[in-house]
């Protein structure tokens, strides 16, 4: 107890103490799985929620809930205020210029689909080209394919090298007079690669092409500044950053959002409706048709405050230390191959074990209480690039410890023993 207090009272502490300091906030990390302490290493799929956010959801639900933007009564005013406060927390978190540039969606997938419908269907025509990368999650591929099919447009793909890095020269060569849009992931969910998006955006802008960034895997691990990046759109989900499922945001530059057509029609997104004509509401409401996930959005705001209090730079520093340790441990294991070994990575390790299929790895690790994801990680083009059917992926959060890395190593050894 004393040690913890001492830590709490200082502002400077070694990053290696981060997990010890904040782990206790996450009640779920104390559960047992198959009679072993849970080792949760599937944070890239979904992270866990601290008590502070759980409490916030309970408080909203027990004392603040009503529909928003609709009534003059007390609860509606409180709920509206809290919902808009969450929007401003997100605005500050990514340093957006204005709060109306933050649109609440159901998550990254919906954010990307919103841009595809609202921007793509309006501005992309036959024979136009859309640039994607080999590192995209299916949710930043499929919407663009649907659009390309509908319009007769083309998809161009930036290749990667063996380390899992984008080939920037190839990217630049893809631009031509038909290039209309670029959609790139900030961080690869399957490999952990951090892409040099700032330079990529600057290059696209030089060619007059707007850029959407899929930030689903970045926002929980890297400090995001959308003005500094100068991206046109940026999307992420709450559930990968200590918040609830069912909510995410789309950041968009105001003038672009204003130029776009609405994605869904319904209540709240209109200014006036007659059977002859409907006038749309201003942004962000134009894109928030119907009753939004109010509780989840407020929980999202709370998660953002929680992370901000720790500090994204502190989180990044600790996770980097954890990644270095884990990489060192796994690299030293015979038969273990890490897929994607660029030096600019978030704390994600995709790996294969010689002679053992990833699904067997996943089942056997689970038996030791260790949660990893196995499969193609919704990024089949990456698997095809490395000519492997699947990988096992350990993805870390700031509440993971070196002891958990050791547990993973021991788990992998026990898998190898079963298959020896």
């Amino acid at each position: 107890m004393k040690i913890v207090d001492a830590l709490l009272n200082t502002n400077t502490f070694s990053p290696s103490e981060l997990a010890t300091r904040y782990r206790a906030d996450f009640p779920i990390l104390d559960i047992c799985v198959n009679d072993k302490s849970l080792v949760y290493l599937d944070n890239a799929a979904s992270s866990q929620m601290p008590q502070q956010v759980i409490d916030r959801l309970v408080r909203y639900q027990t004392a603040q809930h009503a529909n928003i933007h609709r009534a003059v009564h007390y609860l509606s005013e409180v709920a509206t205020h809290e919902y808009e406060t969450a929007r401003r927390s997100l605005q500050h978190f990514i340093n957006a210029r204005e709060d109306r540039e933050i649109i609440f969606t159901s998550g990254t997938t919906e954010s990307i689909n919103l841009v595809m419908h609202g921007y793509g269907r309006k501005f992309i025509q036959q024979d136009d080209e859309i640039i994607l990368t080999n590192l995209e999650h299916h949710s930043n591929i499929v919407p663009w394919q649907m659009l390309a099919e509908e319009k007769g447009a083309r998809i161009r793909v930036v290749p990667i090298n063996d380390a899992g890095e984008l080939l920037i020269e190839e990217y630049e060569k893809l631009f031509n007079s038909r290039t209309r849009f670029v959609a790139i992931t900030h961080v690869s969910n399957a490999l952990g690669t951090i892409n040099p998006i700032k330079n990529m955006i600057a290059f696209a802008h030089m060619k007059g092409v707007p850029v959407l960034v899929d930030g689903a895997q970045a926002a929980a691990h890297i400090k995001i500044d959308v003005q500094d990046l100068d991206c046109d759109f940026y999307a992420f989900s709450a559930h990968k950053m200590c918040g609830p499922t069912g909510v995410g945001i789309l950041y968009g530059k105001a003038h672009l959002l204003e130029s776009m057509q609405p994605f869904k029609g319904g209540g709240d997104m209109i200014a006036s409706v007659t059977f002859e004509k409907t006038t749309y509401n201003t942004i962000p409401y134009k894109f928030e048709a119907g009753t939004p996930p109010i509780a989840a959005a407020i929980g999202f705001g709370s998660a953002i405050e929680y992370l901000s209090k720790i500090g994204m730079d502190t989180i990044a520093a600790y996770e980097h230390e954890l990644l270095s340790y884990a990489t060192e441990q796994l690299e030293g294991m015979p038969g273990v191959r890490i897929i994607g070994n660029t030096r600019t990575k978030v704390a994600v390790i995709s790996f294969t074990i010689e002679g053992v299929h990833p699904h067997d790895v996943g089942t056997l690790l689970n038996q030791e209480g260790i949660a990893v994801r196995t499969g193609h990680h919704c990024a089949q083009p990456i698997m095809q690039r490395y000519n492997i059917p699947a990988t096992s992926r350990a993805s870390f959060a700031f509440y993971n410890t070196k002891a958990e890395v050791d547990a993973l190593v021991a788990g992998i050894q026990s898998v190898q023993k079963v298959f020896s």
Binding site: H357, H359, D360, Q367, G375, P389, V418, F419
Partner: protein
């Protein structure tokens, strides 16, 4: 519940040294089985002499549970009649989803080592895929998938 039980020696052995692994030149029935969720993919080829399966082989990319299941399946149905194979397919499926009373009468014999997958819902499909594929081959359906209803009669071809 001991989850390790699914990785018993028999299963590990069949995974290491799969029986009837390879292709069959004179196959008159074959089908490709695919589990899109995990990427398991196996092909089952067999030679039906009248009603009797006199030769059978499989090959493909899959996890240990799927491969061992395919290996033991081929070893079991070789020499059996189509009707006997269909009975095994039915009983095996019932076993891995927990609908078969192993204490009661059945024909599964050593295949009962797969009973443990009923406790691993995400792996049931791995064990069942070879059997789906055999069923498809016997019924002259070229493709079997764990993600389609029934036995996924999509394209019917016959050799």
């Amino acid at each position: 519940m001991n989850l390790k039980s699914i990785y018993q020696e028999v299963i590990l052995d069949h995974n290491r040294k799969p029986r009837n692994y390879g292709t069959l030149d004179d196959a008159n029935h074959h089908a490709l089985g695919h589990n899109p969720l995990c990427g398991d993919r196996i092909e089952v080829a067999l030679h039906l002499e009248g009603e009797k399966i006199d030769r059978i082989a499989f090959h493909g990319e899959s996890c240990a549970i799927c491969k061992a299941s395919a290996s033991m399946m081929t070893a079991n149905v070789k020499g059996k009649s189509r009707a006997e194979a269909e009975t095994l397919i039915k009983e095996f499926r019932e076993m891995v989803v927990g609908d078969l009373d192993l204490e009661g009468p059945h024909h599964l014999g050593r295949l009962a080592v797969f009973a443990g997958v009923r406790d691993l819902p995400t792996r049931v499909k791995c064990a069942i895929l070879p059997w789906h594929t055999l069923h498809a081959a016997l019924n002259s359906v070229a493709m079997a998938s764990t993600e389609a209803t029934e036995n996924s009669a999509q394209t019917a071809t016959n050799a």
